[in-house]
């Protein structure tokens, strides 16, 4: 097998006239956690369904775990773990029965592979006799991950595993992924949460079926082209409209209690921004230069794409 767990070239997919994927090219190294970060409708699920042999691309090709997704789909399915975005376990089977079912179809030995799911499954084990349909959201998510892992897949494909999940459960889930990575499993994960990007080894930012950029999170944020300031005042909406009046400030976006304002390098200092706002009657409680985050980069790339 090559050093790549997944490699795609020229992948495109149309639904009628709508282009869901537009000529995607990327590779995922073995043992990587690779994130697809983008909003709903970006094409993440379509891509994952192609990679898991559930959907045919219109053009291009893809290899996963050394197998072609079209020609070798039968062999590939045996080494894939897939957790779809929609809960897809058998609602009428119990927790235990679902796990046994998935182990059964993959001819996997639950005892032998239990070490992989132990941390996750132990948390739902007290409800082993409960029907899957009666579980809470967080428990369903844990069961689905257990079922996707029980045959010890080479590549694990997770479609928005943390959507609608609270901040604590999200962090726990990512702790689990990092442990699985140590077992040598390659993981690709889709998420709309920008802050999860830094937990991936590499990410692709995706929008309207196109990859905007692929790299490590630190390279993406390190190559953000603008000088960025964070500014705070009592009235965020007013602050944004004031900032936008300055000819050298080309973006002003809310980020929590702050507004992030982008300028060309060497054009403006924090002091000049503060003075400009004060003159307009806006008192600031902070103006300081900051490093860009993934969300700043995503917004910037989206704007360029929309231009």
């Amino acid at each position: 097998m090559s050093e790549y767990a997944i490699s795609c070239s020229g992948l495109s997919k149309f639904y009628g006239k709508t282009q869901a994927l537009d000529n995607l090219n990327f590779s995922v190294k073995q043992g990587e956690i690779f994130g697809f970060i983008g909003p709903d409708g970006a094409g993440k699920t379509t891509l994952f369904r192609i990679l898991t042999t559930l959907l045919l691309a219109d053009s291009g090709n893809a290899r996963v775990a050394g197998f072609d997704v079209v020609k070798d789909y039968k062999s590939l399915r045996k080494v894939l773990g897939y957790m779809p975005g929609k809960f897809s376990l058998y609602q009428d089977l119990t927790v235990e029965e679902n796990l046994a079912f998935f182990a059964g179809i993959f001819k996997a030995d639950i005892k032998e592979n239990y070490y992989l799911i132990k941390d996750i499954y132990d948390q739902i084990a007290p409800f082993a006799g409960r029907r899957a349909g009666k579980l809470s959201g967080g428990m369903k998510q844990k069961l689905a991950l257990s079922c996707a892992l029980i045959h010890k897949p080479v590549v694990l494909v997770l479609d928005e595993p943390t959507t609608g999940v609270d901040a604590v459960s999200r962090r726990e889930f990512w702790d689990m992924l990092i442990r699985l990575k140590k077992e040598g499993i390659t993981i690709i994960v889709a998420t709309p949460y920008m802050d999860e990007a830094i937990l991936c080894d590499r990410v692709a930012l995706i929008q309207h079926g196109k990859i905007l950029v692929t790299d490590t999170p630190s390279v993406i944020t390190g190559t953000y082209p603008w000088k960025l300031f964070r500014v705070r005042s009592d009235n965020t909406l007013n602050l944004i409209s004031q900032l936008k009046k300055h000819p050298e400030i080309h973006s002003a976006d809310m980020f929590g209690e702050y507004v992030h304002a982008g300028t060309e390098h060497g054009k403006l200092s924090a002091e000049e921004i503060r003075a400009f706002l004060e003159e307009a009657g806006t008192v600031t409680t902070e103006v300081s230069e900051i490093a860009a985050g993934i969300e700043d980069c995503f917004i910037d790339l989206m704007r360029k794409e929309n231009e």
């Binding site: 909003p39 709903d40 959507t163 609270d166 976006d253 980020f255 929590g256 969300e295």
Partner: protein, 249 residues
Amino acid sequence: MNNPETAIEAKDMVKQFGSFIANDHLTFSVYKGEIFGFLGANGAGKTTAIRILCGLSRPTSGEIRVAGYNVFTETEKIKKRIGYMSQRFSLYEDLTVSENFRFYGGIYGMSRTSIRKKTGEMLERLGITELSSTIIASLPLGIRQKLAFSVAIMHTPEIVFLDEPTGGVDPITRRQFWTMIYEAAEAGITVFVTTHYMDEAEYCNRVSIMVDGRIEALDTPANLKLKYKASNMNDVFLKLARNAGAGRE
């Protein structure tokens, strides 16, 4: 009417399902025109509370008034004065944009003329007048969410409940959505919102955090950060919710 300054007044609100206490003596007020963030872990009891406040579920006990009306005896009056939108269900996908406005306007008892007027105004504000006869299903999620919010406030409710309104939308749309929320609040509509994006908690005037059926904290984001010695709302949330007991999933 009770206190004219409050949009929601809850005292010892309890909801029990068998032996399970989903809402355990919640006491809080939401002021008129404020943006109130209603946070909590999955399973903490947020949805139960929202259903009670919208007049859809009868609490076990407590004294609760929404828009001045009693949730035990005046639910129909409450329903007329509130708006509601969630990520999961917002608009009818098989209807056009203007048909959705007509449908919801009709439900809220608006006259045909005022529905037509309101529809025009809102589409103009969104800059999508030309999409008036487009089927919802064919619109991008971002536009749909903004439309769903417009529909939820077209009858100028006193309070609008937003249940994870920005889940899954792109970062630019998310910000445009919050600009709309600010504008609605400035126009006097009280906003009651849940979210899993902790940066959005910062956009709220006040935030409550539910843990295991109880309100563990309620204050402005600035005061909460001070109190829990945290640099952002995510840390405040993690500090509170991590202590959650067996009630959490």
